[in-house]
């Protein structure tokens, strides 16, 4: 049993390592956002899509994806005075597209996040319902690694408890941690929103 759980702790921890580091480092970025520059780099371009397409922004977006290599999910479709506007978004990259119905020109602003901005976006992925398959893959591994985190916690407690010489010191630390966190949780949960 001990050997099996020790190996489970090791394998789950090693498998999850880079994912957990990503969540940890991006949390530091969010908690101390002044430490890092998260300003994306922006470039602009124009693409001729032909006039009269404002009535079907999704078809325009699909053309941009198929013919011009834009990748991501279509979001925030809206009508504008000149035609329509929408976004194509994937983690770390946002294409802001403004289409003019008369000229048939699409003005594309591409915002690409730096490394820390990219980690921030990856941290916020959730759900398996996205049109962009890679986001679903990230969400799946988020779920897997989260389950792994629970496994790491529980197996870690068992592994500590089996080291008899560490029971006193570890027990004091665990009691302090549980006392602190459970008190705060119960205290906050008891308050009406």
């Amino acid at each position: 049993m001990y050997r099996w759980l020790r190996n489970t702790h090791l394998f789950v921890g090693l498998f999850s390592c880079l994912f957990l580091l990503m969540y940890g480092v991006s949390s530091v970025q969010m908690s101390h956002n002044t430490w890092f520059s998260s300003k994306p780099s922006t470039t602009e371009s124009r693409v001729a899509l032909g006039a009269g397409g404002a009535g079907d922004p999704r078809a325009l977006a699909r053309r941009l994806m198929e013919e011009h290599g834009l990748r991501g999910e279509i979001q925030q479709i809206r009508a504008t005075a000149a035609g329509c506007a929408f976004r194509i978004v994937r983690p770390g990259t946002v294409y802001d597209i403004d289409y003019a119905g008369l000229s048939g020109q699409a003005h594309i602003k591409t915002h690409v996040a730096a490394f820390m901005g990219m980690l921030n976006r990856l941290h916020h992925i959730g759900g398996l319902w996205h049109d962009f398959g890679l986001v679903n893959a990230w969400a799946f591994f988020l779920g897997l690694v989260s389950a792994g985190l629970v496994v790491l916690g529980l197996t870690g407690i068992y592994l500590w408890f089996k080291i008899h010489t560490e029971r006193l010191a570890g027990g004091i630390l665990l009691a302090l941690s549980l006392g602190y966190s459970l008190t705060l949780m119960v205290w906050m949960r008891a308050v009406a929103p």
């Binding site: 992925i125 890679l134 988020l142 779920g143 389950a147 570890g170 602190y180 949780m185």
Partner: protein, 198 residues
């Protein structure tokens, strides 16, 4: 050295046991959350409160007055980027707490506030706890601030445990092939997804 790192790894884990479970639950909830149109939440509880906004105040000053008036438990003042005007040009904003949120609409012409309260179920409570960072908790009540400190400690601990875990593996059983395979599989999937997404 190995013994010291092992002790630190173990003690850090014990100090963070409950918050790691909170992170795990929050991650499971986020990973498998339904699409926005399929999400169901309890209905909002609505009430009105008398409130007269003095003339000549900025939106931020009005929001601060509303905060002083309502004093939402565990909530904090509203930052300026969170202030909105609705379709009828009424000022609106939310007070977030780990237990849910209050959506406030300032009905200036009627001299009252529309307050809609959305409680969190226990799972969303855990999710909100994992988002309660130290920098969001300034000026808020003690339990929220203390949780913010704990969250900060846990973030650094998570990084430390990931790094020390790899060190402990490499210093004890570096050639153990199932461990190598686990590390390569997880790292490979991460890097592949990262490169494809980039």
């Amino acid at each position: 050295m190995n013994g010291l790192i092992k002790k630190l790894h173990m003690y850090t884990g014990l100090l963070n046991f409950s918050i790691l479970l909170v992170f795990g639950v929050a991650g499971l909830l986020a990973g498998f959350q339904p699409a926005p149109e399929k999400r169901t939440r309890p209905p909002l509880a609505t009430r009105y409160e008398p409130f007269a906004a003095p003339p000549g105040l900025t939106d931020q000053e009005v929001a601060d007055r509303v905060y002083q008036h309502l004093r939402p438990p565990l909530g904090g003042p509203v930052p300026d980027f969170a202030l909105r005007r609705d379709a009828a040009q009424n000022l609106s904003f939310n007070f977030y707490t780990p237990n849910g949120f209050q959506r406030v609409v300032v009905l200036e012409k009627e001299s009252r506030l529309l307050v809609e309260t959305q409680p969190n179920d226990i799972w969303h409570f855990f999710s909100a706890l994992h988002e309660t960072m130290m920098r969001h908790t300034a000026g808020r009540e003690w339990p929220v601030r203390l949780w913010g400190y704990y969250n900060e400690f846990a973030i650094w601990s998570l990084i430390g445990m990931a790094v020390s875990g790899v060190y402990l593996w490499l210093s004890s059983r570096p050639g153990y092939w199932p461990a190598v395979l686990s590390f390569a599989a997880g790292g490979g999937i991460f890097l592949l997804l990262y490169l494809l997404t980039r």
